[in-house]
C-alpha cells in the first residue's frame, strides 16, 4: 500500500506499533519518504540534502510525540506535513538568527520616518514610542522591540522556552494596549510629543 492510499486510521494504527512489526517498519519508511519529498518540494535549495535528512528525522520524532493529539480533522499526511514544515522553519530560523541576541534585535529597530516623512509622522512615531514605554510591561517591550528588529516569534519562543502561541499572545496583548493608548491619548499625547505643556 502506498502512502497516498493509506487511510488516517491505517497510519495511526501502524505508527502506534499495535500491528505487526513489518507493517510498522513499512509505514515508517513510507512516512520518511513522504516527508522527504514534501520538504524538498516546499523548501527547494533552501534546505540542503544533509539538513533535509536531519529535519526528516526530527519531524518523525515530533510526530510520534504528538500522535495522540491528531484529531483526524484533516488527512494524516497534511497534518504530518504541517509538523515537518514547522520543524524545518524553526531550524532554519534558529540558524539564521543564532548570532543575534534579543537585545541586539531591539537595537536594530529603525524608528526613522519613511521617505518624505512629515512632522505629523514624527509626532506619531514619538507617540508610538511613548506608548511602548508607558503602556507595556517590560516583557512586552522586549518582545515588541525584538519583533520590530526582525527576530522571528519562533526564536523568541525558543529562547524563552515557551510556545510560539504564548509569544503571539504576549504581543497581541501588547498591541491591544498600545492601540488603546494611541486611541485615548492620541490628542494629548501628540501635544506632549511636541513638548507642549498644558
Amino acid at each position: 500500500m502506498s502512502w497516498t492510499e493509506r487511510t488516517n486510521e491505517a497510519w495511526i494504527e501502524a505508527l502506534r506499533a499495535s500491528g505487526p512489526a513489518t507493517t510498522h517498519a513499512e509505514v515508517i519508511a513510507d512516512l520518511r519518504d513522504f516527508l522527504r519529498r514534501t520538504l524538498a518540494k516546499g523548501f527547494g535549495q533552501e534546505l540542503a540534502s544533509e539538513d533535509l535528512e536531519d529535519v526528516v528525522q526530527e519531524s518523525l520524532l515530533r510526530l510520534h510525540r504528538k500522535l495522540d493529539t491528531f484529531q483526524e480533522r484533516s488527512r494524516f499526511t497534511t497534518w504530518a506535513a504541517s509538523i515537518a514544515v514547522n520543524c524545518a522553519c524553526s531550524e532554519l530560523r534558529r540558524r539564521r538568527f543564532q548570532h543575534l541576541s534579543i537585545e541586539e534585535a531591539g537595537e536594530m529597530v529603525d524608528w526613522s520616518p519613511g521617505d518624505g516623512g512629515s512632522a505629523v509622522d514624527e509626532e506619531q512615531i514619538a507617540l508610538l514610542r511613548r506608548g511602548i514605554a508607558e503602556a507595556l510591561t517590560e516583557r512586552q517591550r522586549e518582545a515588541i522591540h525584538a519583533a520590530l528588529g526582525g527576530l522571528p516569534l519562533t526564536e523568541l519562543a525558543r529562547r524563552w522556552d515557551v510556545s510560539q502561541g504564548a509569544v503571539y499572545k504576549l504581543l497581541h496583548d501588547a498591541r491591544r494596549r498600545l492601540k488603546g493608548y494611541m486611541e485615548t491619548a492620541g490628542g494629548t499625547g501628540a501635544a506632549q510629543a511636541r513638548g507642549c505643556v498644558s
Binding site: 522553519c89 510556545s163 491591544r176 492601540k179
Partner: protein
Amino acid sequence: MSSKPKASEMLRALLDQTREEEIDCDRFLELVGPLLDECIDDPSLREKLAHHVRQCAECNEELEILRKALDR
C-alpha cells in the same frame, strides 16, 4: 537604499488590524491542516485564520511553504 520596512509603518499596520480576540500561532498550527484540506466549514473561523496570517509573518511563511509542498 534599505528595503527594510520602517518600524513605525509596520507597527501602525499591525495596530490597525489588531482585534480584541485573535487566534494565536498554536491554534493556527492545529488548524492549518484542516484549512488546507478544506475541512473548515465555519466561515468565521476561516476568516480568523486568514486574519492570523496577515498578523503573523512566520505562520504566513509556513502556510505558503505548505501550499507549495502539497500543491494546494
